[in-house]
C-alpha cells in the first residue's frame, strides 16, 4: 500500500525564529496590522510504501526522530493518508 505523507518540522517553543520575526515585522508595511506569533517551519512531502497504516506511521516517526527534525530544537508532526488505488 502507498501512503502520502506530509511532515511539518517546526522550531520548538522558545527557540528563536528570525525568519518568523522578520516576516511579522514586515506585514504592517502592507497594511496587515495585528498579526502576532509568526513562525516559519518546513513542509516535507513524499510517498511511502508500507504494509499498513501502522507500519507507515512507525517508519515516518522514526525518520522524523533520526533525521528530518533535530529533537533538540525542533518538533515534527506528520499527516499520513492512504493513497487511493489507481483504476
Amino acid at each position: 500500500m502507498w501512503f502520502e505523507v506530509e511532515v511539518e518540522v517546526r522550531l520548538r517553543e522558545g527557540v528563536a525564529d528570525p525568519q518568523g520575526q522578520t516576516i511579522e515585522a514586515s506585514l504592517p508595511h502592507l497594511g496587515f496590522v495585528g498579526v502576532r506569533g509568526v513562525r516559519v517551519g518546513k513542509s516535507i512531502r513524499f510517498s511511502i510504501e508500507a504494509a499498513d497504516a501502522g507500519a507507515a506511521r512507525t517508519a515516518v516517526d522514526d525518520m522524523c526522530a533520526r533525521f528530518l527534525a533535530n529533537p533538540v530544537i525542533e518538533d515534527s508532526a506528520a499527516v499520513i493518508i492512504e493513497r487511493p488505488a489507481v483504476g
Partner: protein, 225 residues
Amino acid sequence: MTTVGVVLFPGSNCEQDVVEAIRALGGAAEILWHGDATIAGVDAVIVPGGFAYGDYLRPGAIARFSPVMGAITEFARIGGPVLGICNGFQILTEAGLLPGALQKNRGLKFLCSTVQLRVEALTNTLTSGLRVGDILRVPINHFEGNYTCAADTLAELRSEDRIILRYVDNPNGSVDDIAGICSAGRNVVGLMPHPERAANELLGSADGLSMLRALLATAAPAAIV
C-alpha cells in the same frame, strides 16, 4: 611529524585556512575528501567551517551521512582527537559525537566579528596548553551559533567540566555563554569561533595558535594507540 586531516565537504570554505595554520605550526596537513570512507591514517581530524551540503535541511544534517564520517566516528571512538570548527561543530552535533545543537543566533543577525573567549577547562585536546581564565581573541562568523541543549545535558557538561570555552560577552545567546565543549572522552571538541583565523598578529590576533598547538601536541603519533 604530526599529520592533521582536514575534511573537505561540498560547501566547506575554511579548509585551506586550517591547513595553513597547521603548517605554520610545523605540523603536516592533508585534505580528506568527504566521499572517501577513510581518514588515511592521520593523527587528528579537523572538520572545518563553511556550509557543508549548503546547510540543506539543517546545518550539518546531511554531512553526517558522508562516507568519511564513519571513519571519523570510529577514530573518535578509539580516542583520536577530532576538532569541529563552526560548521564542523554543527556537523559533530548532528553526527552525535557531541551533545546539543546550534540554533539561530539570538537577535536577527549573522555575526562576523572578533570576540573574547575565556578558557574554562584544560583537560581536552584544544585548550590543554592554556590556563583557566586565559582570555583569547578569536573571530566568529556564523548565523546558527547559539548553543543549546537539554537541561540534563547542560548539568552533565557542567559537572564533568566539559564546557571548555565561554564567551566573555555572549554574542549569540548560547546557553551558559558556551563557545566550545568537549566529549565525555575529552578527545572530541567543538567550538563556534575560528582558531585558524586567529593565526597571525598581522590579521588581528594569533590567539588561535595556542589552541591548534595543543591539538598538535595531543595528536602526536605516539599519543594514539
